[in-house]
Amino acid sequence: MAARDFRLTPSPFRYARPSNLNEAVTLLRDRHTDIRILAGGQSLIPLLAQRIVRPHLVIDINRIADLDQIVPCHDHIRMGALVRQEQARVSSVVRTEVPGLSEALDWVASPVIRARGTVVGNLVANAPGTELPAVALALGARFVVRDTRGERQVDAAELLGLGCRLAPDALVTQVLWPRNPGRGGFYEVARRLGHAPVVGAMVSIGSDRCRVGLCGVAAVGLACPTVADALYRRFPAAPDLAEIDRLLARDLREPAFGTDFVGAEYRRRVAPVVIQRALASAAAAGAGRH
């Protein structure tokens, strides 16, 4: 059977399946080659199949040991690059220690996609308007980045901000979520359940302060400290929509974002409502959708 019989097939690439991280970063050192990392594949493979990306080499990290663990550490939760979204969603330590993240995962994609898609892969793909980058920025997550020179930690903003991207010879091996027990809530307006949101908001209320993340209003996720401080001061009461709208104006540091289907004006207008509903969901003891 010839390859041309297949309707949607990626362009040719070489395939490597390293069994440890040293091998993986050694492969990445070839700077003249366009390389993609394959973890869950739920973002990458559609891009390959539609030939939106045409890498020379795909490095499959799925058989590298110990990257599939969620490990509680002193002041953070460590999550490896192969932790699946569903695994993180149902993790009790994530639900109690990282409020806001589990609730956001309730809204990400659909169950079969979540069973394979990874948290780190979704973050690194950083697709415009998606839930998790906004959550990582608002919660102050950090990434462990590895290349042939060694390992270092970077703030979420260094990877997920406007115009930021990972160095071509580097690989994210872990994401670190600060421990911050409390209540979390998420809400989003989407054109269809399970697809990327139009606008989504996460509210995480800890003992010391509140954190608010917003997606779909800018091309990248937004942390909203001004809104968050006001929510924290007033909790369990909630500011009215006009006040959230005023506060939000101070947190919008990135250019407005819109698509052919949903323009920037609507997104900006609906954002205070979405934040208010995420807050209500957090106030209801952080219960998810079910």
């Binding site: 059977m1 097939t9 040719p12 594949g41 199949a49 079969v112 996609i113 069973a115 399970g194 079910h290």
Partner: protein
């Protein structure tokens, strides 16, 4: 470029049958299951992970066959709709249908049937994990499957009839 493209050996178990083949790295599992393993119960709808028609169970976990490279399935145990009775944990009935297939028939939960194999496979795993799901949980589960005959009401009714 194409002339230097490598072929890689692949062996996997498909519906209890060992399948050994050679594939290009860029070949998707959905295509290889149909063309090399003869598993025509794997329906290819959108080819980009949206419709759910190609859903199979890989080492016990449902996955979109179109969102995996075939080479990734090396050494894996794959169950398609042909393993439905095994996935449901029930023998087939006198008419040759499983419990889930019977419920789909009784509730008219299919029209053209293109989305049905993927739906049956992922619903079998869904019910094995949660024998009494709420209607909301069923709707959430179905959000990964597109039915263009718009038969969702009957699909929900069929699953609800087994959910107790």
């Amino acid at each position: 470029m194409a002339s230097t493209e490598e072929w890689l050996p692949l062996s996997m178990t498909v519906d209890r049958r060992l399948v050994c083949s050679r594939v290009r790295p860029r070949h998707l599992l959905s295509d290889v299951l149909r063309e090399h393993a003869g598993a025509t119960g794997v329906h290819i709808g959108c080819g980009q992970g949206i419709c759910g028609a190609c859903t199979v169970v890989i080492d016990g976990v449902p996955a979109r066959a179109c969102l995996m490279l075939a080479v990734q399935a090396e050494g894996c145990r794959i169950q398609t709709v042909a393993s439905l009775a095994e996935l449901e944990g029930n023998p087939v009935g006198p008419e040759g249908l499983t419990r889930l297939q019977t419920a789909f028939r009784q509730h008219h939960a299919l029209q053209c049937g293109f989305c049905t194999p993927g739906l049956l496979v992922s619903t079998a795993v869904f019910l094995a994990r949660n024998a009494a799901p709420s209607r909301d949980a069923i709707v959430d589960h179905l959000n990964g499957h597109l039915c263009r005959c718009t038969g969702y009401a009957n699909i929900i009714a069929a699953i609800e009839s087994l959910a107790r």
